[in-house]
Amino acid sequence: MPADFVLTVMSRDRVGIVAGLTEAIVELGGNIDAISQTVMKGYFTIIVTVQFANGVTADELASAVRHSGASGELEVSVKERRGAKTAPVPAGADRFILTISGPDRPGIIHRITSYLASRGINIEDLYAYSESEGFILMAQLEVPPGPEVERLQMDVEGLWPAGRMQVTLQHENIFLATNHVDFRQDL
């Protein structure tokens, strides 16, 4: 029976983690749809969607991947994908890039993500880091049709005392158009 899984793995980073876990998937007869992997401050994370046509179970997949690393090294989670293959985003949603920068202090990410959730805005990609110059967050958002961008930006700026955080909200196409040679506008 065909099966479709989402696999996540987290561990301290080292050379060869992806090679090992993909070998386990290949040996089980799986076909990988998509991978997103990053290393942050020395820790490795990956999310993989994978299909099996031969009746492999979630437990079998998790076990095989776990054994591709040393004992207790890899934290593995497997979920079966069911129903829609994309997130439930309202029709007509536009993608925007939100950036927030300013002095680091606890609660910034919670405050912005809570606000976005309250407005029904899905976060598709999120990246944030803190360094000596301050804190910066970049998020790819799916904004439902309706609220004006300027208004949304003002609302986000209003989450902090005036002038503390610098907020920009730009349509994703701006970044694609200015950075991708093969960008073609799809209106």
């Binding site: 004006e148 701006i174 158009a177 950075n179």
Partner: protein, 457 residues
């Protein structure tokens, strides 16, 4: 997938470099409004503009909000008005001018171009009547712009048309003497006028264009200036090749933004997208100046030796970046050097560094000509005509567009300051050497034949 560096570099264009779209210009064909009854013709013109451009300003504002990019000017460019009335004479053209101005005001655009005659080889009675109606039309309207094409590489230079245009420029300035001769700032004389130029005063919708089309003028020179400054902050040893590369990359991004906005506006209006014009169009605002780009490149005194080479480098790099970014590049697509509209150029004129002759030399390597140049009010028509003839010959021989937008400022002399206000800025009045009594070269009239297209040395 977007990378962090991509996001940050694009954001810099917004935060530090004030990226915008300089103009969205909607071209509207008015040839289907032709009617022997001038009243009917005017009614049809206003109706068609209302119908095709009624939502234009709102659409531009919505697109601007969607992308967070300001659209500085919204403009119209119509079919050459000289083609609309064959027998109505100057009065008919004046009434059409009023209709265009009224319609432009009603739909909320800043300017409307197309009060145009294409007379590079000869003039019909209608074209002559249109040109003669220009002083009255430009002095009694506030949004109308006029372009007269008097020369082309294919046809040569129509010196009769130049002589007429010179008289018209002087009369227009006289009729608007209370505004420093400002009426003349809305009239440009061209060689090789493009059919899809979105910039004023020479915008019009050419005969080869669609019924309605959106043309875009990209962001101003501030973005390029800041990109060069950033390069030199990071690498003070950067050479001119590095600077050209930096300009090219910036132009790529600026062009992409322009096309993005233009295609969205065109889709909302239900019309075709035309072109992106790569011209760097300055404003009097400090930081938004082609002259300041030259300063950033190392030309300390604008007008000194090296200025022409610097403009050539800039113009070429802008084009190379732009044509790689878009397959729909057109219009004028070069760096403008409008003296009164560019604070650094204005300062150079005031300091005596930048002369009319040097400006003329610089126009041989960049778009678009002697632009927004204030000269003494007592300059005679023969001298203005000769100046136009010189500039036209640069365009004709080099197979490029050149133009003259010259403002004889009534009652003022060289060295005094002319203030036009707003985007039109201010400038010291440039001295111009008169052709002198008895000089008859341009006054002989006729045509200077088309230049040879071979033996190109």
């Amino acid at each position: 997938m977007l990378r962090t560096e991509d996001i940050m570099s694009t954001l810099r264009m917004f935060q530090e470099e004030h990226l915008d779209v300089r103009t969205v210009t909607l071209g509207i064909n008015l040839l289907d409004c032709i009617d022997p009854d001038v009243s009917q013709l005017c009614r049809k013109v206003e109706l068609k503009i209302r119908r095709r451009a009624g939502s234009m300003v709102r659409d531009c504002e919505e697109v601007s909000a969607r992308y967070g990019i300001p659209v500085v000017n919204k403009r119209l460019a119509v079919s050459p008005v000289s083609a609309l009335s064959a027998g109505g004479g100057e009065e008919a053209f004046f009434r059409i001018a009023q209709s265009l101005n009224r319609a432009a005001e009603e739909v909320g655009v800043d300017l409307v171009g197309g009060f145009t005659a294409l007379v590079q080889k000869g003039m019909t009675p209608a074209e002559r009547a249109l040109i003669r109606s220009v002083p009255r039309a430009l002095s009694r309207t506030d949004r109308l712009c006029c372009g007269i094409n008097v020369a082309s590489t294919a046809a040569g230079i129509n010196v009769d048309a130049i002589n007429l245009a010179a008289e018209v420029i002087l009369e227009t300035a006289d009729r608007t003497a209370d505004r420093g001769g400002f009426g003349a700032a809305k009239m440009t004389v061209f060689a090789n006028i493009p059919e899809d130029n979105p910039f004023m005063a020479g915008a019009y919708l050419g005969y080869g264009e669609a019924d309605c089309v959106v043309n875009i003028g990209v962001s101003g020179p501030g973005v390029v200036k800041r990109a060069i400054e950033r390069l030199l902050e990071q690498d003070e040893e950067a050479d001119l090749g590095d600077i050209a590369e930096q300009i090219k990359k910036t132009s790529f991004r600026v062009t992409r933004v322009g096309e993005l906005i233009g295609r969205d506006v065109a889709a909302r209006l239900g019309v075709e997208f035309g072109i992106v014009d790569l011209s760097l169009a300055p404003t009097p605002r400090v930081g938004d100046s082609v002259g300041e780009i030259l300063h950033a490149m190392g030309v300390t005194r604008l007008g000194s030796p090296g200025s022409t080479a610097a403009v050539a480098l800039l113009n070429d790099a802008v084009k190379k970046g732009g044509v790689f970014a878009s397959s729909s590049v057109g219009g004028l697509s070069g760096a403008f050097i409008p003296v009164s509209e560019d604070s650094a150029l204005g300062d150079a004129v005031q300091a005596g560094d930048l002369t009319l002759e040097k400006l003329e030399a610089m126009t041989s390597v960049c778009s678009v000509g002697l632009d927004m140049v204030a000269v003494p009010g007592d300059t005679d028509a023969a001298t203005i005509a000769a100046l136009i003839a010189d500039e036209m010959s640069i365009g004709v021989v080099n197979r490029k567009t050149t133009s003259v937008r010259i403002i004889p400022v009534p009652g003022k002399k060289a060295g005094e300051v002319a203030v036009f206000g707003g985007l039109f800025g201010r400038s010291a009045i440039l001295p111009i050497r008169p052709v002198g009594e008895g000089a008859s070269f341009v006054q002989r009239g006729g045509r200077i034949p088309a230049p040879i297209q071979a033996l190109n040395n």
